[in-house]
Symmetry: C2
């Protein structure tokens, strides 16, 4: 075991003598939604206006000098409101939501109630661009053409024109395929905004799940179309609306049955649409090129196959200076990297490589042919920003080498807004010169917990159950640790693909409740097992067709490490997680009843056959093609193993992981003669958010306190 | 306080020295559905065949001599089965379900799978009367005409004829008005079986409640029409089918909106139908007489009004020897009594009176004009059988003066089958001569718990919160009571109208779990508060428009009594109940958080506005007309008072008290920042029955053990 241990050693966390006098934070201080929740200071609405940096305030809007950081007033709110009032428009209550999409103009974009307004700062004029109907949703404003797309119910509109007339069961202009494959929206404006590509999803053949809304006078079902693993799936097509001719053409993709249409993007000339198409087995992807005018398939440019799965998550991006070359992202060498291709599908070059991955492409600088990426090159726990010289492939770090960075590049690629956090840095915002690296600080957020007695947080690595792979853990020690005492321990777990619980962000990404439990006197431990995110394809796909099995083995390695610590009471180990973490919690309680004494599983997957097709079948195939895998992962089958105390919590409006999981487990336990506990949060979806989150974590805390026999 | 204490002093309960060696019974022994549940011995299928007493066995069918009790073989099963086999009919596996509806014939009636068969004992012939379709339900066989009525789905059939062709939302031939007003079925054969009166209920305008069935591949809603208090109700009419002409006439009752049609009965000549009609306010009933042929209203014979409510529960019964006189039952003098009326509606006489009530009319003896009733005359805890001489009104006790009796009178009224239980009598079955009173014993069931160490059960009375009314309680003492110890106590409560928890039946009607908890070392206490059954109208209706309020006050009186007992630990009092008892449990926990430390509420009513119209509005009027009462009784309003530990249990298929009650309470507690516990039993209705009932009571036991800090 490599003991690479970092101790979070900052003034506010480690000055024990002074800090012991300070109070411990409460759940309300630590949990989002809490009455006294400590937000980390931020600069809301900070953005580029072309190459100018805009910093909004409540009453004033500033321009920030990118070299000095000096602010100068752009306009005062009362001035804007006087104009709006004269036009009988709603007033602005702050500048935070104002947008500056039009470089080289004097205009800013205001969303005022149902109105989209272009406000000319020089002329002091407000120009109403659009007035939306009351139920408009999925609003997609095109900066270039100033057109606006939106949905009302299941149909799509542009400006005042209704584009589709679909019956219930067919949805247009919204995200499809349950937001998998990187899909987050359903409308895609062409570069100049003359054409709109959009998704049309026929889900009339998909079974509905009834989520019962008990807030009504008499409870009523909220029937959501939920395609479960192995069952009939929806059918998606892609329409192209020409805003000038007002005609719609559908791409000629052929029979859409059991196919996924993902990662829509446009060629710079608006003539061609790129899709990545995937078969239902998710083991064969094709980058397809369609003619936007005729809808005809022009070519299949790139194909990828994998014996487990391929997972396209990023649309192609054209080089701003070369309409014949685009960036294509692939995990084909084991990590997500960038590849240049020409529009004939000919590979130009692999742009990045290494045992780290590109997390995002954030911008370009045209003059010297550079692009900017966020990657894990410095550490799997980090996201740092690199400038990549395209001709040479040479990478240069921008901003510092620590923490988790998010960059926004200005119009000409000369400056970057760099927002980052690090274990001891709640938030730092800087303007960085993309060539010189020189930076000016706009914000160094104070530690919101500086007046509290806070626990020590460490990270390190242990070996996975395979004996080879390094896994990262995070360990939070009880406040004022007495080395002669034995402390109860809680494992907070997620463990599923795409996610990472431990990062080098603020407090190593420890959650408020984790810290709270440590202040009470628990050891709190988290381990990112194999299968979790940002560690590459093999690390992730070792769980293929048997989700939960390898993950549990790795978690047990974490327990072995914990038990090696003199202050951990190995007889009082609890586990908690939500969603995939709820599955892991339940699985660990049932597969290792002698290790884990108490568990709280929130919104758990209990039987993968009740989970949805797109996510579920990627990792598990179908119940028909992988009966052993489904059987092995079906926790209802293990209900009789329950020995300790296990509380399952589900939300009655959970449309991600439907309540059937938890309720079927209750039935399985009744049948098996075991005794889980249950709680339901009415009116919540796939977690408990807002004010009620404090109730949730107080409920969970009480359960652990009581069942682990914890006394403060 | 009157301390009328009866100690259950029988050999098997009190011989402490010997019994201390015996084991205590387990939940499986005590709870119905348990693997080793101890049924009380019985004589299944015992019945009259005219004046002959039939006693079925597995392999043999006997006739019992009514004077001596001596059995003689009527027929052997192999003999019957040989005939059935030759006819290719299903075979009998025992005689227990065989019926003898035809006196003076040699036939018995067999229900064999989908077939109704008349079996001639003399001729050894099997005659198939009817073959029913697979989904036949609500089967109503007419002994006189041998016709059969049944439903398939929502429509009604007689023999092979489909009578109705109603769409979904209209139900024919089934019980209506949610089984209130004594309604238990939907078809009513005329005395000779030529005509069939039946209910038709249009509930298409009634809101549906979605009960989610998680047993399906993907959960699906079971939408039940559930008319909630104050909301739109169903509309009922009464059809009359003439089996000879095959025509249907509907009674001309006028607009059925917000009216109840109850207690259907026929005149002996089949020409007239009697209904008791009730307005939605349930404060005005009318006994109406309709012409069966034309459907026209002939007369309104009897009207009753009451400032609180009237509740007709019994159809009129004609004197067998006088087609112009019927018995009408009413609580108009404060107790349910019998009144004779003629068919013009003229009162003839009040047949019974006193501060006790008639529970049932069980038969007649024509020769000397006598009728037989079951009543509470001996004690409100009892049901004893009396013969009433109609001319003089003189009553004579039949059978003994103890316990709870159920009588069945033979054809000529000369003998009665008397089945009774008493505190120390698990079951006794006797044939009693209705004039001489002489009796012959057929069965004295052994005590099924004779091999166990059983606790002492006492009953007594205390004063209600009004200082006047006597209330009955039952007290079960912990096994091997140590007078120097303080024991935790559980109050088992129901408390609602119509029901009575304490009777002079076997073990004073203590339930298996109550006894189980006492064997573990709890004091178990039950009190029938004001509002509960068999004590007369005023006792019941003092709760009008504010259900739960007086009931809670009385329960607190019970606690005062408990606290006067030296062995009761007043700091460890728990409470448990189901349905109305779930309401009471929750109400007591919230209204008296310093008395009740732990509660388990099953299928509770939380807010009366979520309960159904017929029951709910009788006692509470509507939310619109009684807003204060609904507000006062709405336990969601009191969610913030929760101090102790309260577990709510609900069934996900509960169509009596819908899950919205419990789930809305969860939400109310989240909003109020209190912490109830929850459990749901999937696939069960308004209680947990069968095998799972043991799980339920183990779950409840663990909760009390843990939260009342109970150690055996």
């Amino acid at each position: 075991m490599r003991t690479f241990v970092m101790t979070l050693c900052t003034a506010f966390l480690m000055c024990g003598d002074v800090m012991a006098q300070q109070p411990a934070p409460t759940l309300n201080d630590l949990v989002p939604g809490g009455a006294t929740y400590r937000f980390v200071e931020n600069l809301y609405g900070l953005q580029w206006w072309g190459d100018a940096c805009i910093k909004p305030g409540v009453d004033s809007l500033f321009i920030v000098n990118v070299q000095t950081g000096k602010e100068s007033l752009l306009i005062a709110r009362e001035q804007v409101n006087a104009v709006l009032e004269a036009r009988k428009l709603p007033k602005l209550s702050h500048f935070y939501a104002v947008k500056f999409p039009w470089k080289g103009t004097d205009e800013m974009l205001l969303a005022l109630g149902d109105k989209y307004v272009a406000y000319d700062l020089k002329k002091g004029e407000a120009n109403v661009l659009h007035t939306l109907p009351e139920k408009a949703a999925n609003i997609d404003f095109c900066n270039e053409s100033r057109r606006i797309a939106y949905t009302v119910g299941n149909n799509l509109y542009v400006n005042n024109d209704r584009l589709t007339h679909e019956p219930e069961g067919v949805v247009c202009g919204q995200s499809v395929h349950r937001h998998e494959f990187g899909i987050r929206k359903g409308t895609f404006w062409s570069p100049k905004g003359n054409l709109l590509a959009f998704y049309r999803m026929d889900e009339s053949m998909v079974a509905t799940y009834p989520l019962v809304d008990i807030g009504a006078r008499i409870a009523k079902p909220n029937n959501v179309r939920y395609p479960m693993a192995g069952m009939t799936s929806h059918k998606v097509s892609v329409g192209v609306y020409d805003a000038n001719s007002k005609e719609i053409v559908y791409l000629e993709t052929g029979d859409p049955t059991d196919r996924y249409f993902t990662n829509i993007s446009w060629s710079p000339d608006e003539k061609t649409i790129y899709l990545i198409e995937l078969n239902r087995d998710q083991d064969h992807s094709k980058l397809c090129q369609y003619d936007a005018e005729s809808g005809k398939l022009l070519a299949v440019l790139i194909e990828e196959k994998h014996p487990k799965y391929v997972e396209p998550q990023n649309p192609v991006i054209f080089l701003p200076w070369d309409a014949t070359t685009f960036i294509y992202q692939s995990q084909r060498d084991g990590y997500n990297h960038l590849y240049l291709y020409d529009t004939k599908g000919k590979p130009v070059k692999q742009l990045t490589s290494g045992d780290w991955l590109v997390r995002d492409v954030i911008g370009f600088e045209e003059k010297s042919k550079r692009l900017f990426i966020q990657s894990t090159e410095r550490s799997p726990l980090q996201s740092n920003i690199y400038c990549v010289d395209i001709p040479s492939g040479k990478r240069t770090l921008l901003g510092n080498a620590e923490g988790v960075h998010q960059g926004t590049i200005n119009a000409s690629g000369t400056y970057m807004l760099d927002i980052y956090t690090a274990p001891g840095v709640p938030r730092s915002i800087n303007i960085v010169h993309t060539k010189k690296g020189a930076s000016v600080n706009l914000l160094t957020a104070g530690n919101p917990f500086k007046d509290f007695n806070m626990p020590t947080i460490e990270t390190g690595t242990i070996k996975a159950a395979d004996g080879i792979t390094d896994l990262y853990y995070r360990l939070i020690k009880p406040l004022d640790l007495d080395p002669d005492r034995k402390y109860p321990t809680i494992v907070y777990v997620y463990g599923g693909p795409h996610a990472q619980m431990i990062t080098n962000g603020f407090q190593y990404d420890a959650r408020g409740w984790d810290i709270y439990m440590a202040t009470k006197g628990y050891v709190v431990f988290t381990l990112d097992n194999r299968g979790s995110g940002n560690r590459g394809l093999e690390f992730e796909n070792c769980t293929f067709r048997r989700l939960g099995i390898e993950e549990c083995k790795d978690q047990v390695k974490g327990i072995e490490y914990l038990k090696s610590l003199p202050y951990v009471d190995g007889d009082r180990i609890g586990v908690h997680g939500w969603s995939y973490g709820g599955h892991m919690t339940t699985a660990l309680m049932l597969r290792h009843p002698d290790i884990y004494k108490v568990g709280v599983a929130g919104g758990p997957v209990i039987d993968w056959k009740y989970y949805e097709i797109m996510y579920g079948e990627r990792y598990m195939d179908t119940p028909e093609s992988n009966p052993e895998g489904y059987e092995q992962g079906n926790l209802n089958r293990l209900a009789g193993n329950l020995k300790g105390d296990l509380l399952l919590i589900h939300d009655d409006q959970d449309d991600t992981c439907v309540p059937q999981h938890t309720l079927s487990f209750m039935k399985a336990c009744v049948d098996a003669g075991t005794y889980p506990d249950l709680f339901i949060y009415p009116g919540h979806k796939h977690n408990v958010r807002g004010r009620d989150r404090v109730h949730l974590y107080e409920k969970i805390t009480r359960y652990f306190d009581e069942k682990l026999n914890f006394k403060q």
